[in-house]
Every structure is written in C-alpha cells, then in structure tokens.
Amino acid sequence: MIIAQQKPIKDIAAMIADCKKVLLVGCAGCVTVCLSGGEKETEVLASSLRIMRRLQGNPLETVTYTATRQCDPEYIETLENLVKDVDAVVSLACGVGVQYLAERFHDKWVVPAQNTMFVGGSTAHGVWEERCGLCGDCILHRTGGICPIIRCSKSILNGPCGGSQYGKCEISKDVDCAWQLIYDRMKALGKLDKLLEIQPPKDWSKSRDGGPRKAIREDVMIG
C-alpha cells in the first residue's frame, strides 16, 4: 500500500489561512490502512483545525467526507455538492488523490494534508517500511525476493558495496544491508551462483525517469 504521513498541523493551517470554510476529504484506501488519512484521522484533523482557528479568533467551518478512494473519478464525483460552497479542499489522500481532486474541481483551491512517503507494508503495529521502488521492471526473482532498488541506499545491482558490515548499511546501524539479506537468502536457497552473474545496467526509462507512466488494458476499456 501507499504509506503517507500527515504534515504538521500548522503547515496545513497555513495553507488554508484565508479560508472560512473547508472540506476535508479522507480516503478509505491505503491511507486508512496506514492510519494517516481515513475517516478517523479526517475528523481529528478537522477538530484540531477548528480548535486552532477558534483560539486565533478566526473560526473555521469544516465539512468532512471520506471517499471510498480518491484515485478513481467515480468516487470523486459524489463530492460535487460538498465542494460547491467551501473555500478550499484539504485532501488526506496520497498525492494521487490530491491531484484527482484538483483535476476534477479545477476552480477550487485543493491542498495536501499528507506527505506521501513510499510503497510498503507494516512490519509491526504502527510501523511501516518501504518495500518497492516502483521501478517498472521487477528483478526480485534475481535477488531472492529482496528489492535492492529501494532497500539498498545506493540501489546497487551488483552488491554489496564496501560499506556493508555486520549486516548493516554504512548509512546507519538501524538500516539492514539489503545485499546482506539477499546474500543470506540466496545462500539458504542454494542459489549463490546467480549472484555471480553481472547484472547489467537498469533500464530506468521504465521507471520515473521515463516520464509519467501509463498502463493500458485494452480488453477492459469501454467504447
């Protein structure tokens, strides 16, 4: 899922400082699961902003709504009536949701309440970790199911570099060396010989370096 983390409230407040009434839109997708932008978080943020503004003698009226998803046009359509009479829309979705709202309601001031961080999963209650670099050309079958693109600080394909020691990355003792993990796993699987093959330079055009990407499934297209 996409992991996002709410911005400091004062930063969000600053974006809507000149608004009297705002719509806060939560998202029931990834950000609900990572507990940063679901229904509850949306209400907590609304309440916090209201208190803050009342304390400043400039009360803020809030409307809250949590969309099933903000990354599909049909779920945003239902917001039309709520958007009409607000001065701004605060999205608690990932960056995709913010953009979908801005595209749909192009004359409305739409602002992000979150910092979209990464694609990952939870490793313990309340702890999420990055797992996928979204490179567009998966190589996990060559690296024992451990992604060096995102889990190695240098995204090295023929690791580990000389900074790997005691299983940790040179950048921090709290960061596992992805290549140590890959080595251990490949060794356990009896596939160390695979690590001796020189991995060629990656085709980054399939990643973000090739511009915004598109996936098309003609068989499910309508019309």
Partner: protein, 123 residues
C-alpha cells in the same frame, strides 16, 4: 464512604479506558471542557488485557496534538486507579482541578462567546 471532591467534575462513563478515542477527547475541549482526565484501571489489571495501556498511548498522542494546536497538553491527563480506590479518585479530582485552575478556563470559551459554532460533519 462519602468523599468530597470538586463539584466541577463531570463524569463520562465508558466501558473501558481502551475505548477512548482521539475524537472524544478533542470534542470535550471543543465543547468547552477546561480539562479532561482519563481514569483507567491499574496497569496490569485491565479486564481486556491492554485497554488501559492503549488509553495511555492515545492520551499521550492527544496531549501532543493539544500542544501543537495551542490548547496545551497539560489540560489532559491519564490516571490509573481501581474502582475500590475512592479516596484516590477524590485526590486526583482535586489535583486535576487545581492544575486546571492554575491554567485558567478553556481558551475557546472566550471565543465562542463571540461566535456560534456550526456543526459541519456530513459523513
């Protein structure tokens, strides 16, 4: 046992301190409470195993939030005591009342005298 404690305390009963939610706490302040304390069971004595530990974590998170938004986290506190500790309850009630007196009334009340609050929630 008839114990005296500050008459300004209003008790909101909940099945377990573990059901405390950020929203409930914030709402109390929005509705004008000068301070809130959450009374959970003694640590280790939760009927639902960890309800009071969870409550404590949430209370701490909301304290931080209150600091962030200018309300002040000191207005909120978590206490642990059992149902059999009447005198301790009275003591906490008085202690909290003292603390809040020192902090003064909920600053929102000054504002709400001037403006009326609108309920905005639709979801």
């Amino acid at each position: 046992m008839r114990l005296q404690y500050s008459p300004n305390i209003r008790i909101v009963e909940m099945p377990c301190s573990g059901t405390i939610d950020h929203r409930v706490l914030l709402q109390a302040f929005e509705d004008g409470a000068d301070g809130v304390f959450v009374a959970g069971c003694m640590e280790g004595d939760c009927h639902f195993q960890k309800g009071n530990y969870r409550a404590k974590k949430r209370v701490n998170a909301v304290k931080k939030l209150l600091d962030e938004i200018g309300m002040g986290g000191e207005r909120l506190e978590m206490y642990n005591l059992s149902a059999a500790m009447g005198p301790r309850f009275a003591e906490i009630a008085n202690e909290m009342t003292e603390r809040i007196r020192r902090l003064g009334p909920n600053p929102l009340k000054k504002q709400s005298a001037e403006t009326t609050e609108k309920e905005g929630d639709v979801a």
